[in-house]
């Protein structure tokens, strides 16, 4: 059974989650509402031109109008506007996607979501683990050649966004060493076949690589190394050395253990940024996730789908951050046993 203070912490964190999503949507509402009215009419007209003709169904056109007016807060009293807006964003009910009609926005998103989640989870965890371990190990050899080289490399990689680095990778792997296909992938129908796994692997490798290289050797490496250097000069680390503990033990239980906990917090804070970068990286590699979907939606003027992805991102990042915060006390003994 969980101790009382933990239950309290969990409930409080979930409350924060709800408040965050709620305010984020409110902010979006306000921003959309202050858009100049002629722009709104402009985009509505544009969407209608595409959909209206294609649907050929007056009822559908009327519903489309309704959704747009609600989203941009152009219908009913202020309270009504707000409530219907929130309702749409929370349920992601933006009607039919223009791009993929007659599928609804929800359907299109739920089809692409697993791809993005898989890429993000895989590459984020891997880059976090690799970067932190390298940073800690290298700090033990501070001043050595290897350490200096890695540090210079990290300083170059650190400020580069994933998607710019991805261009470099495309150039290298797409042209010079054509190992991976950059054309849109077509999935074999049998999910359990070897072919399926290979296809997924090939689709995922390059986008994951660009995220992992920048994340591991740039971001996490630098912060982990800085933290490790601090810990090495701390009394408890020196006392560990004085007691003659084996090097590997010191690395695992004294350095890494004390680095990883704050780094989990850093990860949860940066989730939004990582997510955004990953979306753009997907586009460059034609990876069939939300990012590429967003690209297609933007190009097709598919506002409902774009709004759906925005709402999905807000909820997704907030929930992921919340889950990490909920897991944190299970990992950090100091919170667990307070």
């Amino acid at each position: 059974m969980l101790p009382k203070h933990l239950i309290k912490y969990f409930l409080f964190r979930i409350l924060i989650l709800l408040a965050t999503i709620f305010t984020a949507f409110t902010i979006t509402f306000v921003i959309l509402k202050i858009m100049p009215i002629d722009i709104v009419n402009n985009i509505i007209a544009r969407s209608m031109a595409v959909t209206g003709a294609a649907l050929g169904d007056p009822e559908a056109v009327r519903r489309m109008y309704e959704i747009y007016y609600e989203i941009f807060g152009l219908k009913g009293t202020f309270i009504e506007q707000y409530v219907s807006f929130l309702n749409r964003f929370l349920t992601m009910d933006f009607g039919i996607s223009i791009l993929a009609r007659p599928a609804t926005v929800q359907e299109v998103i739920s089809y692409r979501l697993p791809w993005t989640v898989a890429l993000l989870v895989f590459s984020t965890i891997l880059s976090w683990v690799i970067g932190n371990i390298i940073g800690a190990v290298v700090s033990l050899f501070e001043g050595s050649k290897l350490s200096n080289i890695l540090q210079s490399l990290a300083i170059i990689l650190y400020p580069i966004p994933y998607y710019v680095f991805a261009l470099v990778l495309i150039y290298i792997f797409g042209y010079i060493i054509p190992l991976f296909s950059l054309t849109p992938i077509r999935l074999p129908s049998n999910i359990f076949s070897l072919e399926f796994i290979i296809t997924v692997f090939r689709a995922m490798t390059l986008p994951a690589l660009s995220i992992i290289v920048i994340g591991a050797l740039g971001w996490w490496f630098l912060s982990s190394r800085a933290m490790a250097l601090n810990i090495i000069s701390e009394d408890f680390y020196l006392y560990g050395e004085i007691r003659g503990l084996p090097k590997l033990h010191l690395l695992k239980k004294y350095l890494l253990k004390n680095i990883l906990l704050p780094q989990i917090t850093a990860l949860s804070i940066n989730l939004g940024t990582i997510f955004g970068g990953a979306l753009l990286t997907e586009i460059l590699f034609n990876y069939p996730g939300l990012g590429t979907l967003l690209y297609q939606a933007v190009n097709a003027g598919d506002y409902p789908l774009v709004l759906g992805i925005v709402s999905m991102s807000i909820i997704g990042v907030a929930v992921a951050t919340c889950i990490m915060d909920l897991l944190y006390p299970l990992i950090d003994p100091r919170i667990r046993y307070r």
Partner: protein, 294 residues
């Protein structure tokens, strides 16, 4: 009086640059070179605004600058595109950082100094903005505002996701300053809040503010490139982002048109590197503990 102190503070900081470390010098040099290159854009010939000025059958003459980097698939000179792109990208970056950093500065200082309810409300707002994943939000805005987009507006859009981080950091610094002896002393000696802000707090924030402006510029340049990937930057203009957009559009990478591909990507990476080096250089200078003595 406040202004004088701020100017003095700035002046002191500039004088100190002579003692700046290697990182700062390297970064500033790279940035300077890129800037000089960008300034050449004022010499842009008028034909540069037309597409297919250089049809594939008629490449530019060997003597002209157009030949340095060659031409694009849509018949434009990469050289002039790049010089213009540098200037335009920097304009977006400067607009963003001026807006975002100063909004952050004001909110951060007010929050930190006033405390209480004002602080709580402002920080709740700030945190909510931080919780919204920035990129999808900017994409949505850029898409809606596409009909009237220009350099300034693009800067405004990017600032919307950039200011909350500045506000958080500035508030944290203000809070720590508030407990310092000289501020407490100033308070007891009956100085007004505004005077304290200008004479006691602001000079100490200046260093962070400078690095923050540079980091925000860095972020803004990156964000513009991101938007451009989706065709949401100002496609008619040359920016580092739109250059890459056209490269993607024409599949230049897969055709190995390296003379078109390499200049914008290399410039972009060098620009990121130089700005980052300058900002860490300033940081290490202000906080010598970050410099490790071996």
């Amino acid at each position: 009086m406040g202004v004088r102190l701020v100017v003095q503070g700035l002046f002191k900081n500039i004088i100190k640059t002579r003692k700046m470390g290697l990182k700062f010098k390297a970064g500033a040099t790279i940035f300077f070179v890129i800037m000089i290159f960008g300034l050449l854009s004022f010499l842009t010939p008028h034909y540069h605004s037309y597409w297919y000025h250089f049809p594939q059958a008629h490449p530019p003459s060997l003597q002209s600058v157009d030949f340095i980097f060659g031409t694009t698939s849509n018949g434009r000179s990469v050289f002039w595109s790049l010089t213009n792109a540098i200037v335009n990208s920097l304009i977006i970056a400067v607009v963003t950082s001026m807006l975002a950093c100063h909004i952050g500065l004001i909110i951060g200082i007010l929050s930190g100094i006033k405390g209480g309810v004002i602080d709580k409300i402002m920080m709740f707002l700030t945190d909510s903005f931080i919780a919204i994943p920035g990129l999808p939000l900017t994409i949505m805005l850029a898409m809606i505002l596409k009909p009237i987009i220009n350099l300034f507006l693009l800067g405004v859009i990017i600032s919307i996701i950039s200011w909350p981080w500045s506000a958080r950091m500035i508030r944290a610094i203000t809070l720590s300053l508030r407990e310092k002896d000289f501020v407490i002393f100033a308070k007891f000696s009956g100085m007004s809040t505004w005077k304290i802000i200008f004479s006691e707090i602001f000079p100490h924030i200046l260093g962070f503010h400078a690095t923050n402006i540079i980091n925000t510029m860095l972020g803004a340049i990156g964000a513009e490139v991101g938007l451009a990937f989706l065709g949401l930057s100002i496609i008619e203009m040359d920016t580092l982002g739109t250059m890459i957009y056209w490269i993607q559009r024409y599949g230049a990478i897969l055709q190995n048109m390296w003379w078109w591909v390499v200049p914008p990507i290399a410039t972009l990476i060098l620009l990121f590197l130089s700005l980052y080096l300058v900002s860490t250089g300033i940081q290490e200078f202000l906080n010598p503990r970050l410099r490790r003595v071996k």
